[in-house]
């Protein structure tokens, strides 16, 4: 079974703040990590290989430093890693990102199952996975919480997809793409042997030409959306601490406020 997992490298925290002295955006703990959701996708990829044999490859679009993220995955037990890196990819929105990743996967010779995380911790759009599937013209299922069954001979897969009020059991033909939620598994930590392998591992790096990108579809040029403005939201919390001599008094005060605001009856 040929398994490809798409991983994104993201800043280790989503905490952002304005430094009042320099008026710059500061991000604490700037070390980059593998997008937390993608770790579940990597784990699921490795489990599929353990069951059905074959190979797991991670693919990442990002700067050459993304090899750190690849190494983490190698440490977990992934066989290979590919980085798509080119200045021409800068400024990609989800349309361009999904196109670029699809081109990379094509160059790899495709896959039976492609896994992505539910969404990236920074961009938060959850649009890249479905996009890749469309460029590759394969079916996809989002929010998968369990792979029930894979029938390699019959080329089908059965999965459970989380909805807002329960889950759906869905059957799909292979090849296909699925995005996973954290409920799907408990990711393993890097093994000692894996870490040793990761240390000397050098991922393959492909640029736009290597994966035969149409320049009209990559980077800023290929991105229909434009970020006009980025700002830190003002918190509207009134931060009123309810005073009261007794618990009963506090409770009464809050209930009165909620009734006055017609929030409760």
């Amino acid at each position: 079974m040929n398994i490809v997992v798409c991983i994104k490298q993201v800043p280790g925290t989503t905490k952002v703040a304005i430094n009042p002295a320099t008026n710059t955006l500061i991000r604490e703990g700037v070390e980059a990590i593998v997008n937390p959701f993608d770790v579940y996708a990597v784990e699921e990829g490795i489990r599929l290989r353990e069951k059905f044999g074959g190979k797991v490859t991670v693919i990442i679009m990002g700067p050459p430093q993304a090899d750190q993220a690849v190494k983490t995955c190698i440490g977990m037990g992934v066989d290979d890693g590919i980085i798509l890196s080119d200045r021409a990819f800068a400024g990609s929105d989800t349309l361009a990102t999904s196109y670029t990743l699809a081109q990379g996967i094509k160059k790899m010779g495709g896959a039976d199952v492609i896994l992505t995380g539910k969404q990236a911790m920074d961009g938060d759009t959850a649009q890249v996975g479905p996009g890749i599937a469309n460029w590759l013209d394969i079916p996809f299922v989002a929010w998968v919480k369990k792979i029930e069954d894979v029938n390699l001979a019959g080329k089908t897969i059965r999965v459970e997809r989380m909805m807002d009020d329960g889950y759906e059991v869905i059957q799909s033909s292979l090849p296909m793409l699925l995005s996973v939620v954290k409920e799907i598994n408990e990711p393993r930590i890097e093994s000692m042997r894996g870490k040793m392998k990761a240390k000397s591992y050098k991922p393959v790096i492909w640029n736009a030409k290597d994966i035969e990108c149409d320049p009209d579809f990559i980077g800023l040029r290929g991105s229909p959306t434009l970020v006009n403005r980025v700002f830190v939201p003002v918190r509207s919390g009134k931060k009123e601490i309810i005073e009261g001599a007794t618990v009963e008094a506090k409770a009464e005060s809050v209930v009165n406020k909620l009734r006055a605001a017609k929030l409760i009856n």
């Binding site: 989503t14 905490k15 955006l25 599937a133 079916p139 009123e240 506090k250 409770a251």
Partner: protein, 397 residues
């Protein structure tokens, strides 16, 4: 592609610095802005900050579409339904869509896709739609990403809307990205604010990113339709006018054009209360402060008294006190109710990412330093085992 600061125009006002999410801008020794081309991802945010001085220049030849954009007219709302039941976010979008339609002087339409759904079209008209486009077909019985995408794309290609709004539900966020790629246009995810730019008439789509710690306003200048998914509960529902009249336009699509490679086998309803967390007006959430599984009954009882849904922090879910489908936060659900009551929850960044845009937040915690109080409308410092029963008693009165 290149970015540069025109030193002769830069006045050193530093306005651009806080707008750069990549941390690419610094001030040089000569008090001019300097942009690190390696860190910059050409998002364009700093250009807006320097509108006044026009000191920042991005040189890029963006692809422009070869179609006439002025042919694209009208605001469409995707009328999400399952088993014929229209999602409540649709009525919220009709309300907001009306505002945009008035600003643009264009019509507001709804799109209804499914099987045996035509009779629901009038409901959409009564809530503000001027027209309803309907695709009603046997092969659209169960929701299916591929079939539904194909149906919507067929409508877009024929009727050319300017804007398409869809609820940012599990279903909407699953299939709309495919539609956007099929149409090769832009899509903004999970918006919480929509507006029309006075001059360019573009849709200004504002959304939280970085787990709600950063807001971004996004446009789609040269492709159509302009597409956005929109979070529930941000806009009020449209009022119903029993006398409204509108047009229903039915499009027949051949079944073999709607075929899909995935199939729904079964649906298992999972949420313990009947209220859907993402759509609830009131949510009472419990955290590790509850101490053990059986104490969750306190949260449930409070929720029941005020008609709320039950949520939880990850700590409570990981402890096995309540299923994952109730988890609120970065790796759980994002909710935006009118009232969110956090019981014994400390207020980690990850938890707040999922609930900080709630209209009113009440925090109950015994630790006055708990970060949750920072975003609370009202905070009660105290032992939840005393506070909750007292609240329930007052509410019952």
């Amino acid at each position: 592609m290149a970015i540069k600061v025109l030193n002769e125009k830069c006045v050193g006002c530093k306005l651009c610095l806080p707008t750069c999410a990549q941390g690419a801008i610094t001030m040089s020794d000569t008090k001019k802005a300097f942009i690190d081309p390696v860190k910059c991802n050409y998002c364009g945010a700093c250009l807006d900050a320097c509108k006044k001085f026009k000191a920042i220049l991005i040189q890029v030849d963006r692809k422009v579409s070869d179609v006439d954009l002025s042919l694209y007219k009208g605001i469409w709302v995707y009328a999400e339904q399952r088993q014929g039941e229209i999602a409540s976010v649709v009525y919220e979008l009709l309300n907001e869509g009306r505002k945009l339609a008035t600003q643009l002087g264009e019509e507001l339409c709804a799109v209804l896709i499914g099987n045996n759904v035509t009779h629901r079209a009038n409901e959409l008209i009564l809530h503000g739609a001027d027209k309803v486009y309907v695709v009603d077909s046997n092969c659209l019985k169960d929701f299916n990403d591929e079939s539904y995408s194909k149906a919507l794309v067929a409508l877009v290609e024929e009727y050319k809307p300017n804007i398409i709004l869809t609820g940012a539900t599990a279903l909407g966020r699953s299939f709309i990205p495919k539609v956007a790629v099929m149409l090769e246009t832009g899509l903004t995810a999970d918006c919480t604010q929509l507006d029309i730019d006075e001059y360019t008439k573009l849709l200004l789509q504002t959304r939280p990113a970085f787990g709600g710690n950063l807001m971004a306003t996004i446009t789609c200048p040269s492709f159509r339709p302009q597409m956005a998914t929109v979070r529930h509960k941000v806009f009020k529902k449209a009022a119903k006018d029993p006398n409204r009249k509108g047009l229903i336009i039915t499009k027949n699509i051949q079944e073999d054009c709607l075929l899909a490679r995935t199939k729904l086998i079964d649906f298992v309803k999972e949420v313990e209360s009947t209220v859907n967390l993402s759509e609830a007006d009131i949510i009472v959430s419990g955290g590790r402060g509850l101490g053990e599984a059986k104490n969750f009954s306190l949260v449930r009882e409070l929720a029941q008294q005020i008609n709320g849904a039950v949520g939880a922090s990850r700590a409570a879910v990981d402890a096995g006190w309540i299923p994952y489908s109730h988890q609120v936060g970065q790796t759980g659900k994002t909710v935006c109710p009118k009232l969110y009551i956090a019981v014994g929850i400390s207020g980690s960044i990850q938890h707040m990412a999922g609930m900080q845009s709630s209209e009113n937040i009440i925090a109950i915690n015994k630790d006055p330093q708990a970060p949750i109080f920072e975003i609370a409308t009202y905070g009660i410092v105290g032992d939840l085992f005393e506070v909750i029963p007292a609240l329930i008693a007052k509410i019952k009165k």
